[in-house]
């Protein structure tokens, strides 16, 4: 009996200790360090100095910083709304498709993501730029007299975000819709509800956890994707991600960058907490 217990323990340690060490050293430790330095200051040589301060957090109320925050929240918010408007109907079509077309639709949805996203965003620049393909065609057709300025605007950044993150909205919604009990929809229709009523009162509430998961998977990355703003906005539309990036790569104010990151983590944890409180499963956020 005792030997069996010992063997059990060895098997447990062999399987679980690699992941434990890895996660402790490369997730827990770095995040604790970030939390720690967010309360520190810097000297003239950009070295981190241990002097407890809340200054880094107070800087968020600086109008320039607050402006970037508001811009970033509105870009992420708009991208999330458009992703739902496009992603929900698409997920519904996919969930109702026959098995073969469903597989085909899924593969066709994921396939573009095997190509580097920077190059795909750059291609949008080729299409939408002021001497891009779209303007060339519209000018040739005489529909416009001067090129449309689409690139390097906030709208272009939102477009880039929706383009990059759309599958992360589609997948959780379609998973939920697939599991939906068809009997409930039939019951609703048999009891005289019109399709619109059935959708609003039955389908939508039941698929809410999927939408919520999609919102987390789109909204949170959209706050941080500085490269989308670089490529599509060309510096006109700064995001929280750009601000953090600059603290670490240009102005070397790590403590301030750390404080900004801690706020991002806090926002994420609040959203995830709301998600689990409303009955969402954490595993659904990770499995595609």
């Amino acid at each position: 009996m005792k030997r069996a217990k010992k063997k059990e323990l060895i098997s447990l340690l062999a399987m679980v200790s690699p992941v434990s060490f890895w996660m402790a050293l490369l997730i827990a430790l770095p995040l604790i360090y970030i939390l720690g330095i967010s309360f520190c200051g810097t000297d003239e040589a950009h070295n981190i100095v241990l002097s407890p301060t809340l200054r880094n957090y107070a800087r968020i109320f600086d109008p320039a910083i607050a402006g970037i925050y508001l811009n970033s929240l509105s870009v992420a918010g708009l991208a999330t709304i458009f992703a739902i408007l496009i992603g929900y109907p698409f997920a519904a079509i996919m969930a109702n498709a026959k098995p073969f077309s469903k597989t085909l639709m899924y593969v066709a949805l994921m396939l573009p993501f095997w190509t580097n996203c920077v190059i795909r965003l750059y291609a949008w620049r080729t299409i939408l730029g002021s001497n891009g393909t779209l303007n060339f065609i519209l000018l040739k057709l005489g529909l416009i007299s001067k090129p449309l300025e689409i690139m390097f605007t906030r709208g272009a950044v939102v477009l880039g975000m929706v383009y990059t993150l759309l599958p992360f909205m589609v997948m959780p919604i379609s998973t939920v819709l697939e599991k939906l009990d068809r009997g409930l929809l039939e019951a609703s229709s048999d009891l005289g509800a019109r399709p619109a009523t059935t959708f609003l009162r039955v389908t939508l509430p039941l698929s809410a956890p999927g939408v919520f998961a999609g919102v987390i998977m789109v909204f949170i990355p959209a706050l941080g994707f500085f490269f989308v703003s670089d490529l599509m906005g060309g510096g006109t539309s700064q995001l929280i991600g750009n601000l953090v990036e600059r603290q670490f790569k240009e102005s070397f104010n790590w403590p301030f960058g750390a404080a900004l990151s801690v706020l991002l983590i806090a926002a994420t944890l609040i959203l995830v907490r709301l998600y689990t409180a409303s009955g969402g499963q954490l595993d659904d956020l990770g499995a595609m």
Binding site: K7, E8, S11, L12, A14, M15, V16, P18, V19, S20, W22, M23, L25, L26, I27, P30, Y33, I34, I86, P89, F90, I93, T103, L109, L111, F113, W114, T115, N116, V118, I119, R120, L121, Y122, A123, W124, T126, I127, N131, T133, Y163, I216, I220, P221, L223, G224, F225, D230, G241, V244, E245, G257, A258, L264, I265, V272, D283, L285, G286, A287
Partner: protein, 279 residues
Amino acid sequence: MKAPGKRGRRERIKNSVSRIFAGLVYLFLYIPIAVVVLFSFNTSRRNIVFEGFTLNWYKELTKNTALLEAFRNTLIVSGTSTVIATAVGTLAAIGMFRHKFKGRSLIDALLYIPVVIPEIVLGIALLSVFSIARIPLGLGSMILAHTTFCIPFVVFTVRARLAGFDKSIEEAAMDLGANRVKVLFGITLPIIAPGIASGAILAFTLSIDDIVISYFATGPSGTTLPLKIMEQVRAGVKPDVYALSAVIMLVTFLGVLGSQIIAYRGAKKMALAKDKGDL
């Protein structure tokens, strides 16, 4: 009851609206890809209008050693991280499925963190640790970083597969005298192999396209393709980058198509066998 004709017509309209909508979404997703492929054959180096067909950029590509080296680095980083993450993640998923132990929820929490927090936060956090531990920035640090964010995705995908796993099969094998290692390799792993494969594919997909975390973990000793392209974009992309992307696209397209055909045939065979009563 509505007249069947009316219902049928409504169904038909609904179907065609669905088709058009799905078509438009795919158009949105594939337009940039079409541009990449088309302009890789363009005689003009300014990517504005298609002026004429040439294979010149593909020839140029073979001479662009910096770009090819970045591509090689990408394969090294993604390949290595996928292998490590799949091994560590699969073991963890099985271990956490089999045993109940103190600290399990803590490991779980640590696994969820990289999935939900913005990539940029993980990027800077890892950069900080690399700088404290004096780990030189380069391919090694990028492999460490990529493996870190890939492990959770492997664990969750394998765990989803384990959810339908019948533990009594393992017990039966042990009662018949197989030891733990034999059970693991002979019974458990083969049964959950599809889950491990999809976990590995997911890890590779995430790793090969990653830009945010690589951006912070990279260093003088080596850069990956997404970062190289990002660098070139600032100066203006030459169509040889498009040519490389088109080649990668063709290879992945064939790979995905092939694996799907195999999977589909396998599923069909299973269904046939079931019908005949073989299973």
